[in-house]
């Protein structure tokens, strides 16, 4: 059919164009900064008003923020999702929770930032710190962790639950020894997606935990830290144009991390599919 062939070509062109824009943009940004990345850039502190040196504290800071965020959102998110999928009855309350969770993932990150500032920095008295910034990021990643985990848990066939219960297992054993392990790689994928979503977030940590410039890495969670996205923001807005190479390099590093993370997700998914086929 001639019509089918035309449609196939049209759709092909549209898809190709979209992919080309995304890949082109990513590739351009990563490649532009590649020549600025070297060992010193990755392991040194910035010097000379950010013109020289590297972004070591920003990389370490990002790791710290993510660690705090995930330490908060993985247990809370997974247990919340377990409650929703395994324990709660299907009623208005549960449906409200699911909808609220979806709305939460649509809230602008700057709102999370201001909320974190009020709650963690001021009310809890954490000040501008890795802890406050990490918790704010954690709050932001919570809806992703919950909805991804929830989806993976409800995808576990009911027959597994029945098989386990019929052996005289309690609901808790069934959940933790059969249901969660069967959903394991999907849950992990969801967590990595959540990390990918928040690793580049600037607004939530801008007021709550980010430092423009530090001379030593934080040793307690009550100190502020630098981070990759806020470092990009600072270099792009506050410093003169002679920091351009450092800016490009930082963008490149951040994007490479994101690409690697999602590559990892791709591998996990491929393994998952192969496991099912086997």
């Amino acid at each position: 059919m001639i019509k089918d062939r035309i449609l196939k070509i049209v759709f092909g062109i549209i898809t190709f164009a979209i992919v080309a824009v995304v890949v082109g943009l990513l590739g351009f940004l990563i490649i532009t900064g590649l020549d600025d990345i070297n060992w010193e850039f990755l392991t040194a502190f910035p010097r000379n008003s950010m013109v020289d040196g590297g972004i070591f504290p920003a990389i370490i800071g990002s790791v710290y923020f993510l660690a705090v965020a995930m330490a908060f959102s993985i247990p809370v998110g997974i247990l919340g999702a377990v409650y929703l999928s395994e324990y709660s009855k299907d009623n208005v309350f549960k449906r409200t929770l699911v909808i609220a969770n979806n709305i939460l993932s649509g809230i602008p990150s700057i709102v999370f930032g201001l909320f974190g500032l009020t709650l963690f920095c001021v009310t809890f008295g954490f000040g501008t710190s890795v802890l406050a910034g990490g918790l704010t990021l954690g709050l932001m990643s919570l809806p992703y962790v919950i909805s991804n985990t929830y989806e993976s848990l409800i995808a576990v066939p009911n027959t597994y639950r029945e098989a386990s219960l019929a052996l005289g297992a309690s609901k808790a054993s069934t959940t933790f020894k059969v249901v969660i392990p069967s959903a394991g790689s999907r849950i992990l994928t969801g967590v990595v997606i959540a990390i990918g979503r928040i690793i580049g977030e600037t607004a939530p940590i801008l007021f709550t935990g980010a430092a423009f410039y530090i001379t030593r890495n934080p040793v307690t969670p009550f100190e502020p830290a630098m981070s990759l996205p806020t470092h990009i923001y600072v270099l792009a807005t506050i410093y003169p144009s002679n920091v351009q190479p450092k800016l490009e390099g930082t963008i490149s590093v951040l994007l490479l991390i994101v690409v690697i993370l999602f590559g990892f997700i791709g591998i996990l998914r491929a393994r998952d599919i192969r496991k099912k086929e086997r």
Partner: protein
């Protein structure tokens, strides 16, 4: 029917899903170490009846019942369902091995009930696989995923898994409906073999199968237990007209 060899004594059992009256005044005794087939048209309550015997029916949020089911003299409707299910195992319509290795499928139950000794667990794996006639096919591949077996093997693995916790009764809910004829005949042979040491209650849509493998037959119609007798007697000379009509294929 013999009175002294009854394992399940069911008295005035009524079962409801919400306001739906599924089982009506069921009174009967199920014989120990025999195969009892439960037959009847779709929606007659036979699967609900089976699932009540190990309290799997509790999983439906609106389930409700009255009456008594005595297992060895104790009313299982008053007991903790977890304890009941240890004694009354179940195999389902669709083979449902866990996405774990064959060995882990079989030690899951014993471990839950506190068995930690590796040697004992190995023995359980071997004996349950031998009882379910799967040992020779998988003994060199116990680490292989249970999902990688064929449908018939998966179902025999599920039977082995049910046996791994040493139940007294085995409930089979249309265990061969998803299997091909060869796998089906293997399961049927197995049921006959297992009935020497276990009480087996099997729901089936396949009348021929019920006639082939069962000692006793229960015919359910619209939630009532219409007739319950020796299979031979029911097949040749049913007491109730409805049983006769069903067995002759007048309705199905």
């Amino acid at each position: 029917m013999e009175k002294d060899n009854v394992i399940f004594e069911i008295k005035k059992l009524n079962f409801f899903y919400g306001s739906n009256h599924i089982l009506k005044d069921i009174d009967c005794g199920i014989q120990k170490n025999k195969v009892t087939a439960v037959v009847g048209p779709s929606g007659c309550g036979k699967t609900t009846f089976l699932r009540t015997l190990n309290r799997m029916s509790d999983l439906a949020p609106t389930a409700n019942y009255t009456g008594q089911i005595l297992l060895d003299g104790e009313n299982i409707l008053d007991q903790d369902p977890i304890k009941v299910r240890e004694k009354v195992g179940m195999v389902f319509q669709q083979p449902n091995p866990f996405p774990k290795s064959i060995r882990n499928n079989l030690i899951y139950g014993p471990k839950l009930h506190g068995e930690k000794n590796k040697k004992t667990l190995d023995d359980i794996v071997e004996s349950s696989l031998k009882q379910s006639a799967l040992w020779d096919e998988v003994k060199d591949n116990l680490k292989k995923s249970g999902m990688a077996l064929s449908g018939g093997q998966q179902q025999r693995l599920c039977i082995a898994r049910a046996l791994s916790v040493k139940p007294e009764v085995l409930l089979l809910d249309e265990p061969t409906s998803a299997l091909d004829p060869i796998a089906t005949s293997k399961i049927e042979e197995l049921v006959e073999e297992l009935s020497k040491s276990y009480t087996i209650i099997i729901v089936t849509h396949n009348l021929q199968q019920a006639l082939r493998i069962s000692d006793y037959m229960m015919f359910f119609y619209l939630g009532e237990l219409v007739e319950f007798d020796l299979t031979e007697k029911m097949a040749t000379n049913p007491a109730d007209k409805r049983t006769n009509d069903y067995l002759r294929g007048i309705f199905s």
